[in-house]
C-alpha cells in the first residue's frame, strides 16, 4: 500500500533539472532563437569562464538539449553550439515556470 502523494501544482515542479543553474539557463537562452554560436562568443555573452561553460555544455549535451559541432577555423580548433528542438521545448517550459513563480509571489 502506498501513501497518497499530494498534488504537485506549484510551478516549481515544472522547472527542468538540466536548466536549474544560471549558466545552463543562460546558455539555453542564448541559443533560444535557433542560432549556432561559437564557444568563445557564448562565454563572453553569458559572462562566464571556460570551465563553467564546459560543465554546462556537458550537462546540456547529456540531456540532448544542445548539439555540439567541432571543427577548425584558420587551423585553430573551434566548437559551435546549437539548441535541439527538445532543448527549446524544455527552455519554454522552464521559462513559463519561472514566470509563474514570479507571478505567484508578486500576487498579494
Amino acid at each position: 500500500m502506498t501513501a497518497q502523494q499530494p498534488a504537485r501544482t506549484h510551478p516549481r515542479h515544472q522547472l527542468d533539472d538540466a536548466l536549474l543553474t544560471p549558466v545552463r539557463f543562460s546558455t539555453m537562452a542564448a541559443l533560444s532563437n535557433g542560432s549556432e554560436v561559437d564557444f568563445a562568443t557564448l562565454r563572453n555573452i553569458i559572462e562566464t569562464d571556460d570551465s563553467a561553460l564546459s560543465k554546462a555544455i556537458a550537462r546540456l549535451n547529456a540531456a540532448h538539449y544542445i548539439a555540439v559541432r567541432k571543427g577548425y577555423v584558420a587551423n585553430k580548433p573551434r566548437t559551435w553550439l546549437r539548441a535541439t528542438p527538445a532543448g527549446l521545448k524544455a527552455l519554454r517550459t522552464h521559462s513559463a515556470a519561472l514566470e509563474a513563480i514570479t507571478n505567484i509571489q508578486i500576487a498579494p
Partner: protein, 298 residues
C-alpha cells in the same frame, strides 16, 4: 556566475523566490539581445547571396547540359554527357564546403526559417527542376530562356532568404566585424588551395579524351576523400575559413570557366585537346596565383 550553484534540487526549490526567478528571466532577455547584436547579418547576407548565385549557375548549366534533348548527340563531343555531371558536381560540392568554412568564421550563425516555411519555399523549386529534367529526358524541346527561368526559380528561395537577412542587417545595429588586413594563408590552406586549382585544371584537361568518363569517376572519388575529411584541419571548411577576397574571386573565375568548358564540351566540337589544355591552365591559374602572396611573405 558559477555552474556549481543551485546544484541540488531542494536548495533550488527553496532559493528560487520571485526575485531570483525574475532576475533569471531578465538575464535570459539580455542574453537574447546580446546574441542578436553579435550576429553579422551583412556577412551572412553576402554569403547567402553568393550561394544563390552559384546555385543559379549550377542549375542553368545542368539544364543546358541535359535540356533540349534533340540537340544532344548532334556533335562528336557529346557522347558521354552523364560523365560531365561529375565536372559540375565537383566544384559545386567543394563550394558548399568552402561556404561552410566562411560561415564558421562568423561568431553567430543566422537562424534559418522554420521547417514548414523552408519546405514551402523549396517544394516549388524542386517541382520546376524535376519538370525541366523530365522534359529533357523525354526529349521535349523548350526555348533556352526557359532554362534561365527554371534556374532562377531554383535559386529564388535562397535569394529571398538573402533579402530577409539583408533587411535585418539594415534594420538592426548588426555586429559587423571590423575590417582588418587578412594575414596570408597558412601553409596547409595555401597547399590545399593550389592543389584545388591543379585538380580543377586536370579535370578540364581530360575532358576531350574518350577515356574521360573513367577519369571523371576517379577524380570524383578523390573528391569524396576530401569531403570525408571535412572536419579535419586540412578539410575544405577549414580552408574556406582562411580564404580572403583574392581566393574567393579566384574560385569564382575557376567555377565559371569550368562550367563554361562543360557546355562547350557537350554542345560543340571545339573541345579539342589543345583547347582543353589551354583551358585547364586558365582554370588552374587563378587559385594557384591567389596563394603566391603566402609564399612571397615567408
Amino acid at each position: 556566475m558559477c555552474d556549481s550553484a543551485f546544484e541540488h534540487d531542494e536548495s533550488v526549490d527553496q532559493s528560487l523566490d520571485a526575485s531570483t526567478a525574475a532576475q533569471l528571466l531578465d538575464d535570459a532577455k539580455r542574453v537574447g539581445v546580446s546574441v542578436r547584436a553579435h550576429t553579422d547579418f551583412r556577412a551572412h547576407a553576402l554569403i547567402q547571396g553568393w550561394t544563390a548565385a552559384a546555385i543559379f549557375v549550377y542549375a542553368a548549366t545542368f539544364l543546358l547540359l541535359f535540356g533540349r534533348a534533340d540537340h544532344i548527340g548532334s556533335t562528336d563531343g557529346v557522347g558521354h554527357n552523364y560523365a560531365y555531371v561529375n565536372v559540375l558536381l565537383i566544384p559545386f560540392f567543394i563550394l558548399m564546403q568552402l561556404i561552410q568554412g566562411a560561415r564558421n568564421r562568423l561568431p553567430v550563425s543566422v537562424t534559418l526559417p522554420r521547417r514548414g516555411i523552408m519546405l514551402l519555399l523549396v517544394l516549388p523549386s524542386m517541382f520546376f527542376f524535376l519538370a525541366a529534367a523530365v522534359a529533357a529526358l523525354v526529349g521535349i524541346d523548350y526555348p533556352w530562356w526557359v532554362t534561365l527561368l527554371v534556374a532562377t526559380a531554383i535559386a529564388a528561395p535562397l535569394g529571398l532568404l538573402t533579402i530577409s537577412t539583408a533587411r535585418k542587417a539594415g534594420g538592426l545595429a548588426s555586429h559587423v566585424q571590423p575590417p582588418s588586413p587578412r594575414p596570408p594563408l597558412g601553409r596547409t590552406a595555401a597547399g590545399m588551395t593550389a592543389g584545388m586549382g591543379a585538380y580543377f585544371g586536370v579535370v578540364a584537361a581530360v575532358t576531350p579524351y574518350p577515356w574521360f568518363p573513367v577519369a571523371a569517376l576517379i577524380l570524383t572519388l578523390l573528391l569524396f576523400v576530401a569531403l570525408i575529411g571535412w572536419n579535419a584541419r586540412w578539410g575544405l571548411p577549414s580552408i574556406g575559413s582562411e580564404w580572403g577576397q583574392p581566393q574567393w574571386i579566384a574560385f569564382g573565375i575557376t567555377f565559371t570557366l569550368l562550367f563554361a568548358l562543360t557546355i562547350v564540351a557537350t554542345k560543340t566540337t571545339a573541345d579539342t585537346p589543345l583547347i582543353a589544355t589551354i583551358s585547364s591552365i586558365a582554370i588552374a591559374a587563378p587559385l594557384v596565383c591567389s596563394t603566391l602572396r603566402t609564399y612571397r611573405q615567408r
